[in-house]
Structures are given as structure tokens and as C-alpha cells.
Symmetry: C2
Subunit: 214 residues, 2 copies
């Protein structure tokens, strides 16, 4: 076992020397393979709802997770950023960099941001190893998102009160090859979230039993 061979003693209780606590050690302690689960989709598509549902299921499976979303990022780390093109890119860059730190810490990090541009998602993806980035496309038709309009944003965008609103006055570039493509009109919230959990189990990120009923 490589982790043990780095110690000067084979006794697990002896402190090792000349070796800091690394990602490898943290992974061993947390017993999971860290990754970013990057949810992308239109406003109102259900990203946050499904991400939260996934996080609950992971908690039940004893997984250590953290969810980054507008609530904890835009009001804190990125509160100095607006919605210009440059600020939008910087917003996603910082989310990617913070996600990378969380992966390094051994956690499974979930992000729920519209992230409409392929180039921006590519920046985040490029920061980590290829198998540490799991893109989840929450595919909900625009008309359904707009009919939900929980924050009244679509109405404001249609009225012209909000400029560059994704889906109305700014494009949403659909992921071409997401690791997980969820057509939300085909499943319940529970079903959608189970698809993600099953992917993680199947690909060895976490331990658990796949729900074949989905």
C-alpha cells in the first residue's frame, strides 16, 4: 500500500516523517474519490433542487460533500464581481479554482451555476484531472423553465429589465458530451438525483448499491 510505504514505520500509529498530509492521505481518511459534479442548465431548470437532492443521498451514504451555489459564492468570495463578460468569466474561474481546492481536500464538490458557455465550463474542467470533472446537463425545455420562473427573472428579461439573460437574450450552449444528461421531464427529482448517485457508484467514486429501478 503506497500510503503506508511512505511511512518510516509500518505501524499505523507511528507518525510518518518528511511527508506532509497529501491528497492521497485525505482520500484514504475520507474513503471516497473526490470530484466536481458540475451541474449546468437554464435558470429554473432544477439544478439546485437536483444538486441538493444528490447531496442528501450522498450524505446518507456517508459521503463528505460540499455544494457551491449562488448563495454561498456570489455573496462571499465573488461579491466583488458583476455580470459583465469579464466578470462572468472570472466568476466561473474562481468557482473552478475553489472546486479544485475542495477536490484536493478530498471532498466531493457539487456546483450549481447556469454556466451557459462551453468555454467557461472548459476553464473549470481544465483545472482538474479528466476523471475529476463530471458534467451534468440538467436538460429542461425553456418553456418549462420560463413557466416556473420562481424568481420572476424570465419576466424581467422579456420586459427588457434584465439584459443578457440566458435563454432569452443570451445563448445557452448545450453540453455536447456531458457525463450525465438528465432530461428532467422523464424522471422525478428523486429519479434525477439517483441517476447521478448511480453514476458515482458505477465509476468507483463512492461505495453503494446501484438502484436499477431507475
Amino acid at each position: 500500500m503506497s500510503l503506508i510505504s511512505k511511512k518510516h514505520e509500518t505501524d499505523e500509529n507511528i507518525i510518518w516523517h518528511n511527508q506532509n498530509v497529501t491528497k492521497e492521505y485525505r482520500i484514504k481518511l475520507l474513503t471516497q474519490k473526490p470530484c466536481i459534479i458540475w451541474f449546468t442548465g437554464l435558470s429554473g431548470s432544477g439544478k439546485s433542487t437536483i444538486a441538493n437532492a444528490v447531496e442528501k443521498k450522498l450524505y446518507e451514504l456517508n459521503c463528505k460533500t460540499y455544494l457551491l451555489d449562488g448563495d454561498n459564492v456570489r455573496h462571499g468570495l465573488n461579491k466583488d464581481l458583476g455580470f459583465s463578460e469579464l466578470d462572468r468569466i472570472e466568476n466561473i474561474r474562481r468557482i473552478g479554482e475553489v472546486s479544485k481546492l475542495f477536490i484536493d481536500s478530498g471532498l466531493i464538490v457539487l456546483t450549481a451555476f447556469i454556466s451557459p458557455f462551453k468555454s467557461d465550463r472548459q476553464i473549470a474542467k481544465s483545472l482538474v484531472k479528466y476523471d475529476e470533472f463530471i458534467e451534468v446537463f440538467i436538460d429542461t425545455p425553456l418553456e418549462i423553465c420560463e413557466s416556473r420562473d420562481p424568481k420572476g427573472l424570465y419576466k424581467k428579461a422579456r420586459d427588457g429589465a434584465i439584459k443578457n439573460f440566458t435563454g432569452i437574450s443570451s445563448p445557452y450552449e448545450e453540453p455536447k458530451e456531458p457525463q450525465i444528461h438528465i432530461k428532467t421531464d422523464k424522471y422525478s427529482i428523486d429519479g434525477c438525483s439517483q441517476l447521478v448517485v448511480d453514476y458515482l457508484i458505477k465509476h468507483g467514486y463512492i461505495k453503494g448499491d446501484i438502484d436499477y429501478a431507475i
Copy 2:
């Protein structure tokens, strides 16, 4: 138990409803009280060495930690920042905000930055609860730091090749009331790090046995 009472069922295996995974839940899963251990001190004072030694001891105690330092922050999240006064403040602000996210995730986060100005440390401190910020002053006399000069920075500062170098051409504002004040000439590295671990045990952040030999 408040965590259980939020569930609709008392059976631990039943998924709760209408309740996202919160900091409280993560603390329960990780079985530790998250905090920032903020190391401050001159360049060459031993901040990183002691922080790494603390992290090893915490790992042995099954604690889940993450260390933020120049290596993983300046080359990633903060790579767009230089060393102007504004950039220096922004550097510490982002480190504080990221530390806050890590606390929210339930981890114990260690930071090892010179952070010479009281006002900057105050920004980081102000972001979290009062008992979530543990300031550790690594107190090593300037002449010892300068004699070590592992990166040759003091020499460059004396030669004028580096401007605004802490301790030479820019002040280091000593913490007046740090939670832990370590005079490094009085202890070994092991002893210094044990002082921090003992503080965490004594104040209920982690479980373990205090080493009264220190």
C-alpha cells in the same frame, strides 16, 4: 438531538425531507468542530513547517483538515493578484472567504500566510463566528528568520531588489491577543505543533488526549 428532530422520521436511515444538507449535518458526519487555524508570522518564522506538523498530528487523530498556503492559493485562485496594497488586501480577503467555505463544509482549515497587517487579519476573522477563528502567532525573532532566509528573500530585500518586504521595509504588526502565541525558540517543531493540538482538544474542537509534557 436537533439534527434528528429535523427529520420527519426518527429512523436514522430514512431520508429527511425539505431540509438540505447543512453545516450542522456535516459537523455530525465529520465529528469535529470546524475552524480556521490562522498562522501569522514573519517570512522564515516557521509558519508552514508548524502548520504541516499540526496537520499531521490532526490526521493521526482522524481529523479532516485542509491547509491553504502560497503553493495552492497564489498559483491558483489568486494568480491574478500581485503585491500592491489593494492586491494584498484582496489576497487575504479571498483566503478568508475560501476558509469560510471550508468551515461551512465542516473541515478544519489551516492557513499559513505572513498576513502582517492587523486590519487584513481582522477581515478574515470578521467573516466567521468568533470561536471559529484561532489566531496563532508564530513568534520568531527577525534575526533568526533572516539568518535562515531559505528563499534568499531577506538578502534581496536588504539589497533593495524586493520592495515592501515584511520586517525589513514594511512593518509586521504583531497580534496583541492571539489565541495561541508560540515563541519558537522555546520548543521543538513537535512541541510547537502540540501546543496547537492541545488548544483544539482543550476547547472542544477535536477529541484527543492533551499532552501535558509540553
